[in-house]
C-alpha cells in the first residue's frame, strides 16, 4: 500500500490506517525510537504514540511522504521522552552526550531571534555540501542519535575515525553558522 493510500485511510477514519502504517513503517519507527531511547519498551510506547499522533493530525494534514512526516514525529516524541527521563534521572541513551557535543558548535547563549526555518535551511545546505561519509555519520549521530560504537559498527569504521569525523564536521558547522550570521 502506498503512502497516499494509507493517508486516504486516515482521512476515511479507518482503523486500518494504523495497521497499514505499522506494516509499512513500524520497524523503521521502532528503529528510530530505539536508537534515541536505548530501550525497547520505551521505544514501543513511542511508536504507539506516533500512530496516535498520525490519527490526530491526519486529517487535516495530507503528508507526503508519510514515512518522512511520521519518522520526524517519532524522533521528536522520542526526544521529548528522553528529556523527561533525564529530568527524572532515568536512562536516556545518547541524548546528553549528543547535546553536549552540539554545544561545541555554539556557545550556549541567549535565545535569539534566528528563525528555526533559517537554521533548517543552513543545515540542509551544510549537510549537502559534505562528503557522503561525513554527512551520513553526522546524521546517524544527530538525527538517529546512535552511539559512536553503533555508527562505527554499521559503517564498518573504527570508533576513533567516527569520533574524529564528527569533530571535524562540528567545527565546519560552527564556521558555517558564524558565516551565515547566526549567534554562535
Amino acid at each position: 500500500m502506498t503512502d497516499e493510500q494509507i493517508v486516504n485511510l486516515y482521512w476515511e477514519r479507518s482503523e486500518q490506517a494504523i495497521r497499514e502504517t505499522e506494516k509499512a513503517y513500524g520497524r523503521y519507527f521502532h528503529h528510530i525510537a530505539r536508537g534515541i531511547l536505548g530501550d525497547d519498551e520505551d521505544a514501543k510506547e513511542i511508536v504507539n504514540d506516533t500512530y496516535l499522533k498520525a490519527w490526530n493530525s491526519i486529517p487535516p494534514e495530507r503528508p507526503n511522504p508519510l514515512r518522512a512526516f511520521l519518522g520526524r514525529v517519532t524522533r521528536q516524541l522520542a526526544i521529548n521522552r528522553v528529556e523527561l527521563n533525564s529530568a527524572q534521572k532515568r536512562g536516556g541513551g545518547e541524548y546528553v552526550a549528543v547535546l553536549d557535543e552540539l554545544g561545541e558548535c555554539i556557545s550556549d547563549g541567549e535565545e535569539d531571534m534566528s528563525s528555526s526555518l533559517a537554521l533548517r535551511e543552513v543545515l540542509n545546505q551544510f549537510l549537502r555540501s559534505l562528503p557522503n561519509e561525513a554527512r551520513r555519520v553526522f546524521i546517524k549521530r544527530y538525527w538517529y542519535m546512535l552511539s559512536i560504537r553503533d555508527i562505527a559498527e554499521e559503517y564498518g569504521m573504527s570508533e576513533s575515525r567516527v569520533k574524529s569525523q564528527l569533530m571535524r564536521t562540528r567545527q565546519k558547522l560552527r564556521i558555517k553558522l558564524e558565516h551565515e550570521g547566526f549567534d554562535v
Binding site: R27, N64, R67, R72, E154, V184
Partner: protein
C-alpha cells in the same frame, strides 16, 4: 542560540538525507546489517504479527507435474524439474525489509510506481499495484480521455515528475472506480483506483460497479481460520456469485465494531481486471461480507442464511489441490551480471557437494532492481521465489518473481534475535 536549537532543527532536514544515511548502512556493511535487520524483522514478526518477514521451512514439497509460470504469467512448456537432493534441515528466515525502511531509487521503480498518481474527470486516482503488472488488452475498453500522471523522487528532494497518459475504461467496470492508464511512450495498460471510497449503499451496487461476476472468480477459498487453501471450479464460482447476487440488497455497514466475528469462508481474490492480488472476500458468523476488493474495506450485512448457504456450497464442492505453486532457491550469491544472478545452494544441502549453481534471470523488476541499485553483493545469502524450473535446463531460472534476504539458522527455536 542553544545546542538544543540545532538538535531540533535537525528534525526538519530534508528526509532524503536521513534515509540515505540509513540506506548507506545497508550498502557499506550489508552483511552485518542483513543479520541485524533480519533479527529485528524476525523479532517483530513474532511480536507484532507483521507480514514483512516470512519464515520458510527448508523442506519444500517436491515440485511435481507441470503448471509453472514465467514472470509474464505464461505457462512453462514441458515438465518441471524435480529437486530430489537431500537438504540439511536448517531453517531459513527471509525478509524484504527494504519495503519498509528503504525506497528504491527512481530508476529502479516500475513505471506505475514512478507515476502512480493522476487526475481524471475531477477525481484523483492511484496506481493499483507498484510492480509494473499490466492489464491485458482484452480487458481494455474505450478511450475516455487524457491526463497527466505524476510521481515524486524521494532521492531528489521529492522532485515532481510528470508523464502524459491516456485513460481507458476497463470493460464493464465503472470508470468512477477503476480505469486503465496507458503512459505515453510506454507499452501496456495499468490499473488505477479512485482515491476515495465508493459511495455504495448496497452490495449490489458494488458488484455492478466492479462487474464482479465477470472480473472475479471465487475459485480459491479458505475454511474458517484454517491455512489450507482449497480449489473451486469456475462453475462453482458462478453459483456462488448467484448467491451473492441474491443478497444484492444487503446494506453497507458503516461501523467497524460489531462485525468482527469469526470468518466462516474466505475467498482469496486475484483479479487482473481489477489489478488486485490476494484480496479478501470473506463472510463471517455474524452474517457479514467483509472485503477489501477495492483496497478500502467495506462491510455488507448479507445475513446469516446467505452465509450458511455459501459455507455449505463450499464444503460440498471444494477440492484439495489449490495451493498456488511457488518454489524457492536459497543460497549464496556467487556472481552478479547485468541481467542475471548466480546462486550456489550448497549451504542448504546435507552434502555440500550436492549444491548447484543456478542462473536466475532478472526478468521481473522485483529481482532486477536489486542488481540495478547495487544493493545486492556477491557473498550475500538470498532466497529467490520462482514459478518453476524446466526439467530441460535445471540450472536456468526464468520465472523468479521475488528476492529476499535470507538468514540460515540451525533451528527456529535456538536462534534468539538480538
Amino acid at each position: 542560540m542553544k545546542n538544543k536549537d540545532i538538535l531540533d532543527a535537525m528534525n526538519d532536514i530534508d528526509f532524503d538525507m536521513v534515509e540515505d544515511a540509513e540506506r548507506a548502512k545497508a550498502e557499506k556493511s550489508r552483511r552485518a546489517v542483513w543479520r541485524r535487520w533480519g533479527a529485528a524483522a524476525a523479532c517483530l514478526c513474532l511480536v507484532c504479527g507483521m507480514l514483512a518477514a516470512i519464515a520458510v521451512p527448508m523442506l519444500r514439497e517436491p515440485s511435481v507435474g507441470d503448471g509453472g509460470k514465467d514472470s509474464e504469467g505464461l505457462l512453462l512448456q514441458g515438465e518441471l524439474w524435480v529437486d530430489t537432493r537431500e537438504r540439511n534441515g536448517k531453517k531459513v528466515t527471509a525478509s524484504n525489509y527494504e519495503e519498509g525502511a528503504l525506497v528504491w531509487p527512481w530508476y529502479c521503480r516500475a513505471v506505475n510506481d514512478q507515476y502512480s498518481h493522476m487526475k481524471y474527470n475531477g477525481a484523483e486516482y492511484n496506481s493499483r499495484n507498484y510492480t509494473g503488472e499490466t492489464l491485458s488488452d482484452e480487458y481494455v475498453g474505450k478511450k475516455l480521455g487524457r491526463s497527466t500522471a505524476m510521481g515524486y523522487d524521494m532521492y531528489e528532494n521529492d522532485k515532481l515528475h510528470t508523464l502524459g497518459c491516456a485513460v481507458y475504461e476497463i470493460s464493464g467496470v465503472d470508470p468512477e472506480r477503476l480505469v486503465a492508464v496507458k503512459y505515453d511512450g510506454h507499452d501496456g495498460y495499468y490499473v488505477f483506483l479512485k482515491r476515495a471510497r465508493g459511495d455504495y449503499g448496497t452490495l449490489g451496487e458494488l458488484i455492478e460497479a466492479l462487474n464482479l461476476t465477470e472480473t472475479v472468480a471465487l475459485t480459491r477459498v479458505y475454511i474458517g481460520d484454517e491455512s489450507t487453501q482449497y480449489a473451486l471450479s469456475t462453475e462453482d464460482s458462478a453459483v456462488l456469485w448467484e448467491i451473492f447476487n441474491s443478497c444484492s440488497d444487503a446494506l453497507i455497514w458503516p461501523e467497524y465494531s460489531g462485525v468482527n466475528y469469526g470468518t466462516v469462508v474466505s475467498f482469496s481474490v486475484t483479479s487482473e481486471a481489477l489489478g488486485g492480488n490476494g484480496l479478501s472476500w470473506r463472510v463471517n458468523s455474524a452474517g457479514f461480507l467483509i472485503t477489501n476488493i477495492e483496497s478500502y474495506v467495506y462491510y455488507f450485512n448479507v445475513g446469516k442464511d446467505a452465509v450458511s448457504k455459501i459455507e455449505q456450497y463450499v464444503l460440498d464442492h471444494k477440492s484439495e489441490t489449490a495451493q498456488t505453486k511457488v518454489f524457492n532457491i536459497v543460497g549464496t550469491v556467487t556472481e552478479i551480471g547485468e541481467d542475471y544472478i548466480k546462486i550456489d545452494d550448497s549451504v542448504i544441502m546435507k552434502d555440500p557437494a550436492d549444491g548447484m549453481v543456478f542462473t536466475v534471470y532478472a526478468n521481473d523488476i522485483r529481482v532486477s532492481r536489486y542488481i540495478d541499485s547495487g544493493f545486492l553483493k556477491v557473498g550475500q545469502t538470498v532466497m529467490i521465489e520462482h514459478g518453476g524450473i524446466s526439467a530441460a535446463a535445471p540450472t536456468e531460472v526464468h520465472t523468479a518473481t521475488e528476492l529476499y534476504e535470507a538468514i540460515i539458522t540451525d533451528s527456529g527455536q535456538a536462534w534468539i534475535p538480538e
